[in-house]
Symmetry: C2
Subunit: 563 residues, 2 copies
């Protein structure tokens, strides 16, 4: 096989980007090599909007042949949350053929070393980036995200998270030198001398179990962390969101082959309806690493049963915002309204419980009662989503019938402060588009607690009346400890309350956003700077990304000889 | 409380040592700040030999009161493998009092920051180092190690491993800055700006479950890694080896208090005979980290049941040396003889299976048959241990009756090439001292396989006849994969065999020593340079020490505010 991508070429091309990423994770200042604006694409080989749309359309109704060994069938059946059937089929694998084939190329991939693996990963990300417009449609029509969000979160932001994982993986592997000369003095006798070599070795085959809502954003960190540390990676997409990860696998296989490696180092495991191969795969002895995003029940099952593997899970949590006081009432309301509305609240980071003292809060517009705060927030959401075009652009579509059912049931849990509204999507009449519901609950009532202490994934927010700031802080603590949280927000002008909330977040290990009133939202994190999750509360056992996310995906084998 | 050890003083005192340790783990060249020679002690406040012995003697028959809260009783009953009763009692804890007390000081310890925690740990290690002579007797009379080994492995080498863990813990925590300014351009609009703070936070209370044979060497990495990352540490010593860890806890509590921290951040959990509190402790919700050295059965139990904790285990393995050919036959024999004899083979790193082709091996002294190699090795061990004084100094004492029973049973497993010999210890008539047994086994026979494929912990070596070098390599692979290995050794002059053995070690993840014929032994590793275990085969799920050993003992909590 002619190697088209030489190490020299790849390193020259990508090493500066890698170095810049390494600097970014050290300083955590803003940085991204992946433009966010759709108009930034279309030159230097990247697809523009029209070409991306055409590429996506060309995939519909076809077979995505990845050239994988052990393909015994074709399967697929994705229906877009916007109502169209994708009609794409993917390879279905005989695991007893595919898994051994994936291991065959691991020796060469291991011996290529950390830098070569990193720049190959960066080439994969570069080619994905070039096809961002195509991926945007793939993400939109599997997750139900609105186009602009699918473009940004599914494109450059996901690519950023992938690159961040590569940077962490690289730096972790080069902490130990390739060789060392060891000379130990022995007094008057000759010193003891050894020559030592150290090599990062992979654990085996890594499994990425994708999710429905953020197939690329949540899939890339594990995929690239495992690949960059020398492992082969098998991607098991969510059956409703196969396409974005299938395209990712396709690009990875192409790049690996062009760089002279075995393309089977990355493969797809699409499943037949109801096949449930995640459970089968998760306990296969070949699988030594698992990355999973999804329900707490299956995440806990993986942590308990996949004992042969390192298991990284992002599960469910209950996200809280403490609303105690504010110096910018309008800013707070509009910031919260946006956070509740974005992608119909279908983010693992969307706030669910707004804890508001029943005696009201102090604001720059004077004191506001609990009822006023809730009514003003409802008005703010209503205003934000009053125009259908803007509502569609913000909300996207409801990803699946379960979310719709939860939304409809939520209205029965308490007094509805803002009813959910059906929004028509003129481009996609089949899309199910709904505005968020805001439900008032009394934090002191046990039946209310049953509601607000469970994750109600989707466009549902609970305005929970609490006795005091102290009560809010204690409820926050209990919620994080018992249910986990991907995010915590707080609005307060009191230094004392701020300290108390911060202390709870430090003790219970949750990421805190304080007094956001502008264009940054509690549910958004930026790669290279913000950690996604903490890995220290029940919502997730890992954070994206840090040293712990990569350090145990490989091991270092030492060989020592007398010098 | 008057703080006697200020941050300024501690940083001035220990920061240079920390920096030197950080350099050592990067270069992995030889380094240690802890002298190995007994005569190096006695100045600058350290105990000399006589003072150390006197300090140890003063402990005998007394009560070691650590001033711990919740002490409801006193317990102890250590009998030295050298025959003397220590007669020391230790606090027995009411866990419902002790564990909450251990958490009380965690906020201040957390807020002190990574550097302060590191230098406090270094002060603890310094004071332990000053008492190395005292610790040597404590280790000798609990583990059964001979004095010089107890001195070195239980003293400076253990202190090195502790310092190494502190260095890894420190550098891991400072990879993320304390604060960051984040400014994201927004085209013509004002940029988005956030001020972010990042703080390493502990997981909770860490549990160290000590072992009988290397209470300090195997205990210090987990203890110091957890403490340096902000956790409180509860030390549960092996009931037969309490004293070395009780003294360690005593020193740690003194230093913590003098530095203005809560001494309850480190505590001892001694148990009554048969109480088995490790199982109780391991699943307590307060316990979030466990470090364990011991049997595979209990290590596996911990990994399966202590789901609320990060579990780091060093269990049992079957260590192999492939003997294929050598350019230094005498050197090989004497090196192997020493490895088999040191501490009566009671090291997790001692070779057990010597794989020797049944057709013999090539050497610089001409071809040697399988029988000749085994006979020459037996003679070499016999010569090394022929003098009782030297034998006592090398072998130490048999640590417990189980080891003695296994040794006695081993002679029945095959043809005995070298019988175990009882050695009298004139200083300690009660000591059980035995030379190793070497048993010949045919690798192809199933009943032999049952013997050599199990760990036979103690002074037992199997000379396993194999069909060929290739057969040896395959058996090596199977042994590591199925049973795990802390160490692998190989003797070969063939580049092809060397590559094959190396490839097996890379694929099955085991640490390899090649052609050792001088004063470095396969069972010894040096902190800052050698990894102890790989963390990638069944013998241990962690290596001492690397990034993975520390990275998940803490989490980073981010607080972000609009700038």
């Amino acid at each position: 096989m002619a190697v088209e991508l030489t190490a020299h070429h790849l390193i020259a091309q990508h090493r500066p980007t890698l170095d810049r990423a390494l600097e970014a994770i050290r300083t955590r200042a803003y940085w991204s090599p992946h433009p966010e604006h759709p108009k930034a694409y279309g030159e230097d080989g990247s697809l523009d909007a029209a070409a991306g749309k055409a590429a996506f359309d060309a995939l519909l109704g076809g077979r995505l042949d990845l050239g994988q060994p052990g393909t015994d069938d074709w399967t697929g059946g994705e229906v877009s949350p916007y109502g169209i059937e994708l009609g794409i089929t993917y390879p279905h694998a005989d695991l007893d053929v595919l898994l051994p084939a994936m291991r065959a190329g691991q020796g060469a991939w291991r011996d290529a070393g950390a830098e070569m693996r990193a720049v190959v990963c960066l080439e994969i990300l570069k080619r994905i980036n070039d096809r961002t417009h195509e991926f945007a449609h793939a993400v939109m029509h599997t997750s139900g995200q609105a186009f602009m969000m699918a473009f940004q979160a599914g494109g450059p932001h996901a690519q950023d998270r992938g690159l961040e994982a590569v940077a962490y993986a690289y730096v972790e592997q080069v902490r130990t030198p390739d060789t060392a000369e060891w000379t130990k003095p022995q007094g008057k006798r000759d010193p003891l001398t050894l020559t030592k070599t150290f090599k990062p070795v992979p654990r085996g085959v890594a499994l990425v179990i994708g999710c429905n809502t953020f197939p690329t954003w949540n899939g890339y960190p594990g995929l690239f962390a495992s690949l960059a540390t020398g492992n082969a990676v098998l991607v098991k997409p969510h059956p409703r969101a196969v396409l974005p990860l299938a395209l990712t696998v396709q690009v990875a296989r192409q790049v690996l082959a062009e760089a002279g490696f075995d393309p089977n180092l990355v493969a797809l495991a699409a499943e037949r309806p109801g096949e449930g191969i995640a459970k089968t795969l998760a306990v296969r002895p070949e699988i030594r690493i698992i990355d999973y995003t999804g329900s707490t029940a299956f995440g806990d099952w993986l942590e308990t049963h996949a004992r042969q593997a390192q298991v990284y899970t992002e599960k469910a949590g209950v996200n809280t915002v403490v609303v105690e006081s504010t110096g910018n009432y309008k800013g707070m309301l509009s910031n919260l309204a946006f956070s509740l509305s974005l992608y119909s609240g279908q983010m693992c980071t969307t706030p669910q419980n707004l804890l508001i003292p029943r005696d009201g809060i102090a604001t720059d517009e004077g004191p506001k009662s609990y009822d006023e705060v809730v009514a003003d927030l409802a008005r703010s959401v209503g205003g934000l989503l009053g125009d259908d075009a803007r509502a569609n652009a913000l909300l996207g579509a409801i990803v699946n019938p379960d979310v719709k059912a939860r939304l409809e049931a939520a209205a029965g849990l308490g007094e509805v402060a803002l009813a959910s509204r059906e929004v028509a999507n003129p481009d996609f009449p089949g899309a199910v588009v709904r505005t968020p519901v805001i439900v008032k609950l009394d934090g002191a009532k046990p039946d209310a607690e049953a509601a607000y202490m469970s994750e109600c994934f989707g466009p549902v927010a609970f305005a929970v009346a609490v006795d005091s700031a102290q009560d809010a802080v204690e409820l926050l603590r209990r919620t994080i400890r018992d249910k986990g949280a991907m995010t915590v927000g707080a609005y307060t002008t009191s230094e004392e309350v701020e300290r108390a909330v911060e202390e709870v977040c430090l003790e219970e290990c949750a990421q805190l956003s304080l007094n956001l009133t502008g264009g940054v939202y509690v549910n958004q994190t930026a790669a290279f700077s913000d950690f996604h999750g903490s890995g220290g509360n029940p919502a997730a056992n890992a954070a994206l990304s840090d040293g712990a996310f990569v350090a145990n995906r490989f091991r270092v084998v030492e060989v020592r000889r007398e010098a």
